[in-house]
């Protein structure tokens, strides 16, 4: 449905997108994740024909965004980041204006607005000017705006920002419901949200894709961390013996020298619990606690998007391609 190929965008010398390529299938709900300034909004603005790309191509169905922007815009419902609508218009007038621009007939328009009032819970604010609305209601009007023409593709830029927890649950339910038939791309900072709503997640960092796959596959691709508490062991000793094990990437002490119990954090590439316990047995360490830290999307997100010392700016961020 959407295919993006080698998409780059420069704002002056600043590179916002760096040869981004991905495809979104029909009926897929795609979550775009990434830290601030990663290029999420830029990507969405290019897909919706608001910004022209510096290079690369975007096709919506078989329409090219540069060759047939009007056709593309007809297929897409877009909710911008801050839902900046016309502040002096009444909500009803605004929706009716959007409906007429979307070329809905007057009978269908009334029907559609009534449906959207229901879906987005707008009945109380229909005759209030937009500027008087709370953040959450603005967001809902924005969503109604995006849904107006029952678009094939929905592009939602942080749809749940500024909403209260109940509204977030509502909006997620709406997204899930619509996503059964339609293609949805939405961006978010909230990882649990992406996990709960999306069929697929793409993590972007500094204009590049660093991970692409389902929440499950991304989670399982990260490093595994163990917490080990030992009695009767010395840290240098533990360090030497454990780091000799294949698959161990790092060991960190969590307690001080004087503590009776030594707690270490072991970062591994794979599950090596049996090897660790064997070493402990051989060295006669008393294992009092041995826990596997659950790989959360948060930790993977941090791992993929935090600029660490060994990977200084300018170098390519590590890229993970996960089979879906």
């Amino acid at each position: 449905m959407i295919s993006i190929h080698n998409l780059s965008k420069y704002y002056g010398p600043f590179r916002a997108l760096d040869r981004l390529s991905f495809e979104v299938g029909k009926g897929e709900i795609l979550g775009l994740l990434g830290p601030n300034g990663a290029g999420k909004t830029t990507t969405m603005r290019i897909i919706t024909c608001y910004l022209p790309p510096t290079s690369g191509t975007v096709h919506i169905g078989d329409l090219d965004i540069l060759e047939n922007p009007l056709g593309v815009k007809k297929l897409i419902g877009y909710l911008p980041e801050f839902a900046p609508l016309y502040t002096d218009m009444l909500v009803y007038d605004y929706l009716s204006y959007v409906a007429s621009i979307r070329e809905l007939s007057s009978v269908r328009k009334e029907k559609r607005i009534a449906e959207l009032v229901d879906i987005c819970g707008l009945s109380e604010v229909m005759h209030r000017p937009f500027r008087e609305l709370s953040r959450g209601y603005k967001q809902r009007v924005g969503l109604a705006h995006a849904l107006m023409c029952d678009p094939e593709i929905l592009v939602l830029d942080e749809p749940t920002s500024g909403l209260d927890p109940n509204q977030i649950v509502d909006i997620r339910a709406i997204i899930k419901e619509i996503g059964r038939e339609k293609t949805i791309i939405f961006s978010t900072h909230i990882l649990s949200e992406a996990e709960a709503t999306c069929d697929r997640i793409i993590i972007i960092d500094r204009g590049r894709i660093v991970a692409d796959g389902t929440a499950e596959s991304i989670k399982s691709s990260g490093h595994i961390q163990f917490h080990l508490s030992l009695v009767g062991a010395h840290y240098p000793d533990v360090r030497t013996h454990l780091s000799a094990l294949p698959g161990v990437e790092g060991i960190r002490r969590l307690t001080g020298d004087s503590a009776e119990e030594l707690r270490v954090q072991i970062t591994c590439r794979r599950d090596i619990r049996t090897e660790i316990s064997r070493v402990a047995k051989e060295r006669d360490w008393m294992v009092v606690e041995f826990a596997k830290e659950k790989g959360s999307l948060e930790s993977i997100f941090r791992e993929l998007t935090m600029p660490d010392e060994s990977n200084t700016a300018g170098k390519k961020p590590r890229r993970k391609r996960i089979k879906r």
């Binding site: 608001y50 910004l51 009007l70 815009k73 911008p80 900046p84 609508l85 002096d88 218009m89 959007v98």
Partner: protein, 236 residues
């Protein structure tokens, strides 16, 4: 470009003018200014014509039109609603045409009450209707040009006040340049006289409708709109 989309945008813009106090304020100010310019000297001169009214009208319009057009793009840029507008299935030409037509119709609307002046004058003496009709025709073309220029000013900035000042400066130049021709080197006066709208306006106002003058207004309005379209296409 689709006429339907332009008309919808025009209707929204016009509705906005009348929902907010802008339209009423501008209309009142315009009518007071034109009324004053007409009546202040009318009884002193004792002539049954509208020459004084039409000689001051371009100056008044040079301030009124930018006040009408200043928000058309600036507001969209500053509130961010331009993003919404551009992601709806409309082209920049639709947007531009809609906004231009909205400004044009509002200003033409405020011109309607001034139609009472010629009837008033005609009731007092012999009024030559030819120049009056010509002047109104010229005014319509002049308003078109000033709206296009005002829109261009509005497309340059997200600040409405800046848009007004730029717009008023350009409109003042167009309507008043004939008054400062003596400051301009002789070999340039011809060009400036041609560039200024007043010569053409006065020609039409004499009741002589020359295609050259009409062509001036149509082409210069078109040029202003064309540049505006380039600006708004790149303002993203």
């Amino acid at each position: 470009m689709t006429a339907k989309a332009s008309i919808r945008i025009m209707r929204r813009e016009l509705a906005f003018y009348f929902v907010s106090p802008i339209a009423y304020i501008v209309i009142v100010v315009f009518l007071i200014a034109t009324g004053w310019s007409f009546f202040s000297v009318f009884f002193l001169n004792g002539r049954a014509d509208l020459r004084d009214f039409f000689s001051l009208l371009p100056l008044i319009l040079a301030f009124v039109v930018p006040a009408v057009t200043m928000r058309l793009f600036s507001e969209e840029f500053s509130s961010g609603s331009y993003e919404i507008l551009l992601t709806l299935p409309v082209s920049t030409i639709d947007i531009l045409a809609g906004k231009f037509l909205a400004a044009l119709s509002l200003v033409l609307l405020m011109l309607i009450p001034t139609l009472s002046y010629p009837f008033f004058v005609a009731s007092l003496g012999e009024l030559d209707w030819g120049p009056v009709a010509g002047s109104y025709l010229g005014t319509i073309f002049l308003i078109g040009l000033l709206c296009a220029v005002g829109l261009f000013a509005s497309s340059l900035t997200k600040n409405q006040i800046v848009a007004f000042i730029i717009g008023a400066a350009m409109c003042l130049f167009l309507t008043q340049v004939h008054r400062i021709l003596f400051l301009i080197p002789v070999f340039l006066t011809g060009i400036f006289q041609f560039l200024g709208a007043s010569t053409h306006f006065n020609n039409i106002g004499k009741g002589v409708v020359d295609s050259r003058d009409l062509l001036y207004f149509v082409s210069s309005s078109f040029v202003a709109l064309y540049i505006t379209n380039i600006v708004i296409e790149n303002k993203r």
